[in-house]
């Protein structure tokens, strides 16, 4: 009886009694949800256009962030003053590096592997992950780095609200992250719906063969999506890096994006966002109110269980395309 009370009644009583704490937890869940959604977005972009389940998205986030910091340090070392927009120069150069990476991946990995089963391509992205881990550590060193938040003019500090008889404090960087994420999703949506390349991308996503037959270059499309995923990775890296340090430990957040993906469906951009928010909020609220019952740390698997429960009812995810099976 006591246990049932603790599971079904007590958490809700707490939520009502301390609404400010509830709102704070909700907000934190929302923010981490947005960041999960950003990583999931990178996955979805690549999966939609090439059917590759890109495990390397997590390490691409770390790699992009490290490249940004590395180039910035290098520029400062050459005597470029912070006032000279060194950070933005570094940002531009990093985007260039991500383009080179996308180009290299297409040329050296995807092109020879075209027409292979999904699992082979999936494993190849594992190879890419290993390569980037080794390469990144070799070039940038393994120790955690601090993100150049101020030089990029990202806001710092927090805003406190007095609502619901308590204090809710929002980090400005989190608000910025949410804004940037929304802008990015909106841009991508416009890009997909309104531009020529976007239409080509959607065509490739629908059917590789049909797209090829009307003269769309698959190679070009793949470079573009990997480049887009690289830029998404860079934005994610900056946001995560601003919240904590940039280190290789960050790459495990890619694993956190997986339940987001299956929840939203592999092929849906809105799904990635909604899934991210559901997972982020569910995880934080679950950990905060139900975690102590089971011994803490349930955050590590709660997301997967939430996703699993959703999947049992909708095997293609919330927004995924309906799976039609034929003989």
């Amino acid at each position: 009886m006591d246990l049932l009370y603790n599971i079904f009644i007590d958490p809700f009583v707490q939520m009502v009694q301390l609404p400010d704490l509830f709102v704070q937890t909700l907000w934190e869940g929302l923010v981490s949800g947005v960041l999960y959604a950003l990583i999931a977005l990178g996955f979805v972009l690549i999966f939609k256009a090439s059917g590759v389940f890109n495990f390397a998205q997590g390490i691409m986030v770390v790699f992009a962030a490290l490249t940004l910091i590395g180039i910035y340090t290098l520029l400062r070392g050459w005597g470029v003053r912070p006032g000279d927009l060194a950070a933005f120069l570094a940002l531009g150069l990093t985007i260039g590096v991500m383009f080179v990476l996308a180009f290299g991946v297409e040329r050296l990995m995807l092109r020879p592997l075209v027409n292979q089963p999904d699992i082979i391509l999936f494993m190849a992205t594992f190879g890419l992950t290993y390569f980037l881990i080794g390469f990144g550590e070799l070039v940038f060193g393994g120790d955690p780095k601090i993100m150049i938040t101020e030089d990029l003019y990202l806001p710092k500090g927090s805003i406190d609200f007095k609502i619901l008889g308590g204090l809710v404090s929002l980090q400005k960087i989190d608000i910025a992250a949410a804004v940037i994420a929304s802008v990015m999703v909106a841009t991508l949506a416009v890009f997909f719906q309104k531009t020529r390349i976007g239409r080509a991308l959607r065509a490739v996503a629908d059917s590789h063969k049909a797209a090829l037959s009307v003269g769309i270059s698959l190679e070009q499309i793949w470079v573009i999506v990997w480049f887009a995923a690289g830029i998404v990775a860079l934005a994610t890296g900056i946001m995560w890096g601003a919240r904590s340090n940039v280190s290789f430990a960050l790459q495990i957040i890619a694993l956190k994006a997986l339940p987001v993906l299956i929840l939203g469906g592999f092929t849906s951009i809105p799904g990635a966002i909604v899934g991210g928010v559901i997972i982020g909020v569910g995880e934080k609220i679950g950990e905060f109110y139900w975690g102590p019952l089971l011994g803490s740390g349930i955050e590590s698997w709660l997301a997967y269980v939430i996703a699993l429960v959703f999947l049992l009812f909708r095997p293609q995810g919330l927004f995924g395309e309906r799976i039609i099976e034929r003989i």
Partner: protein, 358 residues
């Protein structure tokens, strides 16, 4: 020249359906087994036995487990290490509750616990397919890892949170614990691996294996010809997890000697998946090749520079190692997506028709 079937006639269906139809193959297998059982324990150093051979054998068993699930039944799983952990912890609990029963029995029994857990987490597999299932098995991996840390009962409420393997004997010879000799441990592991590989070979070549492969190739078609999907998939999960469990128990008791939750983390699952892919999906011999390759490569990379008299600092070596492993994985996938097992087959075929091209 020596490797061809000329003059070997088969007069029964059994002989025709044999796993090794060629006499030369049978001789080779016997020679390999003889070398493994007699020669290696006599000549190999302790380092080779305990840091190369034992891990390779144990990983081979784990790779066979994953191959049954992924290679033969087509269900991608990323929870291998979790199921191995179940085996390891189950064996530890069994031997602390029933210290009188022989450890070998416990190791075999611990597979059944893993099988039970595996079936439980395999339940969603009827509704969920492909990568969705892979992510669903991650739920098993993370949940089980969490259990190994949080459920203190599993490690007998040790303060350190790790399990220490007690000393146990077989026929009067110490085989587990800190005093066990590498030779004894190696032979026990080898016996387990040989027996279980033989069982697996019989399973995948028989009716059950055919059912698994039918499900892998197209599950709806398999259902239409009368294969019960649910039972077949769950059986694959059970058998695979059983093998994982035994591999995990062997790993804790005969290789590591002590273990904590971190031994069974997600990276281990990925490592075993590499072994299966590099070795060859749907091939038992490929599991051995994959395990030897993935486990052997870093060792070779550590030793090779010293051999040539080049000194590189160890951190650089480790980074280079990651890069080389990554590149090699991609390279192998491009050159031979069917893995080392296919290369092996091609080599055998070439040898058979040599000196003619075909």
């Amino acid at each position: 020249m020596f490797y061809r079937e000329a003059g070997q006639y088969k007069s029964s269906y059994e002989a025709d359906a044999a796993v090794f139809p060629l006499r030369q193959d049978r001789i080779a297998i016997a020679a390999i087994l003889l070398a493994a059982f007699v020669l290696l324990p006599l000549v190999a150093s302790d380092f080779v036995l305990s840091s190369v051979m034992i891990p390779i054998l144990i990983f081979s068993l784990a790779a066979i487990a994953l191959n049954i699930l992924t290679g033969y039944t087509g269900l991608i799983s990323l929870g291998t290490a979790g199921f191995m952990g179940v085996g390891g912890y189950a064996c530890y609990k069994l031997t602390s509750i029933f210290p009188g029963i022989n450890i070998v029995v416990h190791i075999a029994l611990s597979g059944f616990f893993a099988a039970g857990i595996g079936v439980l987490f395999g339940l969603p597999s009827l509704r969920i397919k492909g990568f969705y299932l892979a992510v669903a098995t991650l739920a098993a991996q993370f949940f089980l890892s969490w259990c190994f840390i949080r459920v203190a009962w599993l490690y007998n409420y040790n303060v350190s949170g790790a399990i220490e393997v007690p000393t146990r004997t077989l026929f009067g010879v110490t085989i587990t614990g800190p005093t066990a000799s590498p030779q004894a441990r190696y032979l026990v592991v080898l016996c387990f691996v040989v027996v279980m590989t033989w069982l697996a070979s019989n399973l995948v070549h028989g009716r059950i294996g055919r059912m698994w492969m039918a499900v892998r190739d197209m599950d709806i078609a398999a259902e239409l010809i009368g294969i019960k999907l649910y039972q077949t998939k769950l059986l694959a999960f059970a058998v695979s997890s059983f093998y994982c469990g035994v591999a995990g128990a062997l790993m804790v008791f005969l290789w590591l000697g002590a273990s904590e939750a971190d031994s069974f983390n997600i990276n281990q699952s990925f490592l075993i998946l590499f072994m299966v892919i590099i070795g060859g999906l749907g091939s038992l011999v490929g599991s051995f090749f994959g395990a030897a390759f993935i486990w052997g490569l870093p060792i070779v990379m550590r030793v090779a520079p010293e051999y040539f008299g080049i000194t590189i600092n160890s951190a650089t070596v480790e980074h280079l190692q990651f890069m080389v492993v990554g590149v090699l994985i991609i390279f192998f996938l491009i050159v031979e997506p069917h893995g080392l097992a296919r290369l092996w087959q091609i080599g055998k075929q070439k040898l058979r028709v040599w000196p003619f091209p075909y």
